[in-house]
Symmetry: C2
Subunit: 142 residues, 2 copies
DNA sequence: CTCCTTTTTGATAATAATTATTATCTAGTG
DNA sequence: CACTAGATAATAATTATTATCAAAAAGGAG
């Protein structure tokens, strides 16, 4: 499990300079493991680090994504989310409230890729399962 | 296969009023089956239907999505795309150039959903496979 | 520690996608 | 034809993201 004590090392190993802003952002992502938006990261850090700016958050998470520290995911709500969990994993999302649950696949599904896909070098895949969570099913029962 | 002649019927069956704007948008989606953005839809229709407005496109595709006529998909490029919802299918996308290829799964993968997911009513799922297309592999070879 | 170079930061502006508002218009109904 | 709910167009407002660039900070050499 990732530990906040490792943050400077994580940054160095990724080839990034260690700055308070980066430590704060990485720390936030480690503690709030789940799918934060850029704005959520900014709002939270801003409380204890008032001088941090929005562009720093964007720059930093972009750097993190480039070096593989975080993974960017998007759902249908026009806001990118960032996930410290860089292991391959998948998402179950509620169509109504947006609740997100991670899950894993032991064995990958067998894709039947079409002829046009030949020559494609497959690197990874992501499964997004959609449905209605128990709470929303309850509240929408007529 | 969907036919543009069926458009009024498609709209009625979906419980939507038949208007020229809706016919145009649905017609566009049927003819350009693949993954158009809201702006692409607008730009194209605007040529032959100059009075149509951007918000009508957004409203209309949102309605279409609600009644299941189209499906919204997002990739990492902060623009939603809309797909005539024929049959469940999945996407192979090039990380470099964004090229998109549809593919199908005969049998769904078996998900190993975690305990937190119990009670979730699963409605559908989407697999996004990422990689590098042949053209981009070629051009990036050192 | 101090100087120097390079990188990072923060403030702001710019751009793009999307949503909200509202007056006007229209399809369907009687 | 008149009425009414719903649809459209124009516009403004929001929201997310990127670009610009001067000032500040990091890391290494001496």
């Amino acid at each position: 499990m990732l530990n906040t004590a490792d943050i400077p090392k994580l940054l160095k190993d990724a080839g990034l300079r260690v700055t308070p802003q980066r430590e704060a952002i990485l720390g936030f992502l480690i503690e709030h493991t789940k799918h934060a938006t850029a704005d959520e990261i900014y709002q939270s850090i801003h409380k204890t680090f008032p001088s941090i700016s929005v562009s720093t958050v964007y720059n930093t998470i972009k750097h993190f994504a480039q070096v593989g520290l975080v993974k960017e995911i998007t759902f249908g709500d026009n806001a990118s989310r960032f996930d410290i969990n860089v292991q391959p994993h998948h998402h179950l999302v509620c169509k109504k409230c947006g609740t997100l649950i991670d899950f894993y696949l032991e064995k990958p599904p067998s894709f039947a890729l079409p002829p046009e896909a030949s020559g494609f070098e497959i690197e990874d895949f992501h499964v997004e399962v959609k449905g209605i969570c128990p709470a929303c099913r309850e509240s929408s029962r007529g």
